[in-house]
């Protein structure tokens, strides 16, 4: 009768760490802790073999035959479900309020793997659908109970771990996020197309998600494309096995997200309805925000129009890599302090203007920036509150430099750098010293630059 059930079990090895009144706690050699049935002659510290059959689900209930116990649990769950159908306000619910099960938002995440996440009105994921084969190889269920941005982060993380994408290489990976939202948290009923979806709610949701991408350590390592869709579009796209967001953008034949966004003209076409958030653009915004933030804390003001305009121009273009590198070089090599100061000061003075302009151009970008600023502020505060201004300045430069390095270097080495970002005081100061020395020797800088480039190439080769 139980032949197949037995096969599914495994022999586990447990170290007895606690003898309860009617249960034993073991620590498996994988570091998992489990309650198992109490049996004779077991002592603390003995190493024993057991199977899932011995595992207790709930140790507070005395039971020696787990099998029957499990049936009892199963039966009571069925009972509870039946009862709750009729009596919604059952006492049980008071102890643990049930999660709202209405689907208010559907978020299609296409990386390949493709998932559809169903969120309730509180933006908590209550259901996950793996939309293709690749998605099924990932533990997508693990995002249930998370909120939307956490879930996206988790999926990106898992996709990276399963090598569908590589968040630490130079390659252009795109995460396509398509949002479908019902009006004012009303239910989306997939069978019923009569429900009018609220375009505005969807738009707000899209903006929220865009914002949150910036604040995540993982999500800002990949390119994002965010777009909203109607439910009808989502369904049609699903039927045709086309990523929903691309379907909205007019794609009708099968194409992967990566392929689509590798073409510059397609990317532009997508922007008419959606928003592309490049990791380069993000980093620039972050860098920008940092220096602006630093200046905001000081009160010196001097004009320097030209530079600012150059900078703005750069920023507005979501620049391609070469430009970024050029600028990086400038920043590294132009170590002349006055110049840097000028630049900083310019930003202070033009901050108001910037904001107005940004508003005109792109509200969302502005929002992103603000958020990045906040984040940065936190970081700076974390690092050190009492430092003198000069040091502050150095530090921000230092951070900028880190970023530059992040971009230039292969990010396998990133961990060390990130530690620098988490830096405690001493590290920062040491680095600053180094930096000053480096500044004295432009040539050394050049060499370093070359080395970096070489390193990048090598890494690239290694990957190939």
């Amino acid at each position: 009768m139980d032949s197949m059930i037995e096969v599914l079990k495994m022999i586990k090895k447990g170290l007895v760490v606690k003898l309860g009144k009617d249960y034993i706690i073991v620590m498996t050699n994988e570091g998992e802790y489990e309650n198992i049935v109490l049996r004779e002659r077991v002592t603390l510290g003995s190493k024993i073999m057991y199977t899932d059959k011995d595992v207790l689900i709930n140790p507070t209930t005395t039971s020696y035959t787990t099998k029957y116990y499990r049936y009892a649990v199963a039966a009571s769950i069925v009972l509870i479900l039946l009862v709750s159908l009729f009596v919604r306000s059952a006492v049980l619910y008071q102890e643990q309020p049930p999660m709202e099960q209405t689907v208010a938002t559907i978020i299609a995440v296409d990386i390949n793997p493709s998932f559809q996440l169903m969120a309730n009105p509180e933006d908590v994921i209550i259901q996950v659908r793996a939309m293709n084969k690749d998605a099924k190889t990932i533990d997508g269920e693990s995002v249930i109970g998370l909120n939307i941005e956490e879930a996206i982060e988790q999926i990106v993380y898992l996709a990276d771990e399963a090598h569908f994408i590589n968040i630490s290489d130079e390659d252009e990976d795109y995460i396509l996020v398509t949002v479908v939202s019902a009006a004012n948290g009303e239910a989306i009923i997939p069978e019923d197309e009569a429900i009018e979806l609220d375009a505005e709610t969807t738009q707000i949701k899209v903006a929220e998600i865009r914002e949150k991408i910036n604040s995540s350590a993982i999500l800002n390592k990949v390119n994002f494309a965010v777009i909203s869709a109607t439910q009808k579009q989502l369904e049609e796209a699903t039927q045709k096995a086309i990523p929903a967001g691309l379907y909205v953008a007019g794609v009708r034949e099968e194409v992967t997200v990566k392929e689509y966004f590798s073409k510059e003209e397609k990317k532009e076409a997508f922007k008419t309805n959606g928003k592309v958030i490049d990791k380069e653009a993000l980093k620039e915004a972050l860098k920008e925000a940092k220096s602006t933030d630093n200046n905001a804390s000081r009160s010196e003001e001097k004009p320097g129009q030209d530079k600012r305009q150059d900078k703005d121009k750069n920023q507005d273009k979501n620049k391609d890599k070469d430009q970024v590198q050029d600028k990086d070089k400038d920043q590294v090599q132009d170590k002349d302090k006055d110049q840097v100061q000028d630049k900083d000061k310019d930003q202070v003075q033009d901050k108001d203007k910037d904001q107005v302009q940004d508003q005109d151009k792109d509200q969302v970008q502005d929002k992103d920036k603000d958020q990045v600023q906040d984040q940065d502020k936190d970081q700076v505060q974390d690092q050190d509150k009492d430092k003198v201004q000069d040091q502050d300045k150095d530090k921000v430069q230092d951070q900028d430099k880190d970023q530059v390095q992040d971009q230039d270097k292969d990010q396998v080495q990133d961990q060390d750098k990130d530690q620098v970002q988490d830096q405690d005081k001493d590290q920062v100061q040491d680095q600053d010293k180094d930096q000053v020395q480096d500044q004295d020797k432009d040539q050394v800088q050049d060499q370093t630059q070359d080395e970096k480039n070489n390193g990048k190439q090598n890494n690239g080769n290694a990957k190939n």
Partner: protein, 216 residues
């Protein structure tokens, strides 16, 4: 279902498929262990698993002797295992004096056991300082094997970072954000495995070498 197993075994016997036969024995190891555990009313000790070997041999014997006339295979196997284990115990009893002396652990073994027990007791005390208990560790153990592995890895790596350890011990709280940033791991994952990561870091910090050896 069992009928299927019965006929499968007959087929394997008839075609003399050794490979699949071996696989079958491996698949049914938990079954053998369960039979012994129930008979013994106690768990089989890892360091003293002669009973398990006897049980596996009995299972093999059952496979050899089985034919459809004997009815359900698993019931038959259970009978054979029961009987062989009891034989083994009887034999043990008669040789008790010699066997026992041999088994009576050396001084070193006893010392090891005492030290391990001490580590476990100390571990529980330190856990309490952090507002944790073994019960809580049971409740929060990640179910997914990969998640567990990852949590263990993060815990071990974080143990090597002095500042993270200091933060954990001073504030009695895991520095989740810092760990997330430093190791480039999703915040969600760390939050979910918070307790497990904390426990691994405690084991490392307190130098519970015997427990550490067990989980590595």
């Amino acid at each position: 279902m069992s009928k299927k197993l019965d006929s499968k075994i007959m087929q394997l016997k008839n075609t003399d498929n050794q490979e699949q036969m071996n696989q079958l024995i491996i698949d049914y190891q938990p079954f053998v262990l369960n039979v012994i555990t129930e008979l013994k009313k106690s768990y089989v000790d890892i360091d003293n698993d002669d009973e398990f070997s006897v049980g596996l041999m009995a299972f093999y014997e059952a496979l050899e002797k089985y034919n459809e006339a004997r009815g359900d295979f698993l019931s038959f196997a259970r009978l054979v295992i029961d009987s062989r284990i009891k034989d083994y115990w009887a034999q043990q009893k008669s040789e008790a004096s010699i066997e026992e002396l041999e088994r009576l652990s050396t001084y070193q073994d006893v010392e090891e056991e005492v030290l391990l027990r001490k580590e476990i007791e100390d571990f529980e005390k330190v856990l309490r300082l952090f507002g944790l208990s073994f019960e809580k560790l049971v409740a929060s153990s990640p179910k997914h094997q990969d998640t567990r592995k990852r949590a263990k890895e993060i815990g071990l790596r974080a143990s090597e970072e002095q500042d993270l350890m200091t933060h954990l011990y001073n504030k009695k709280r895991l520095p989740v954000t810092q760990i997330s940033r430093r190791f480039q791991v999703s915040l969600v994952i760390i939050k979910r495995s918070k307790i497990m990561i904390t426990s691994i870091m405690i084991i490392a910090k307190e130098k519970f070498g015997r427990i550490m050896e067990w989980i590595q």
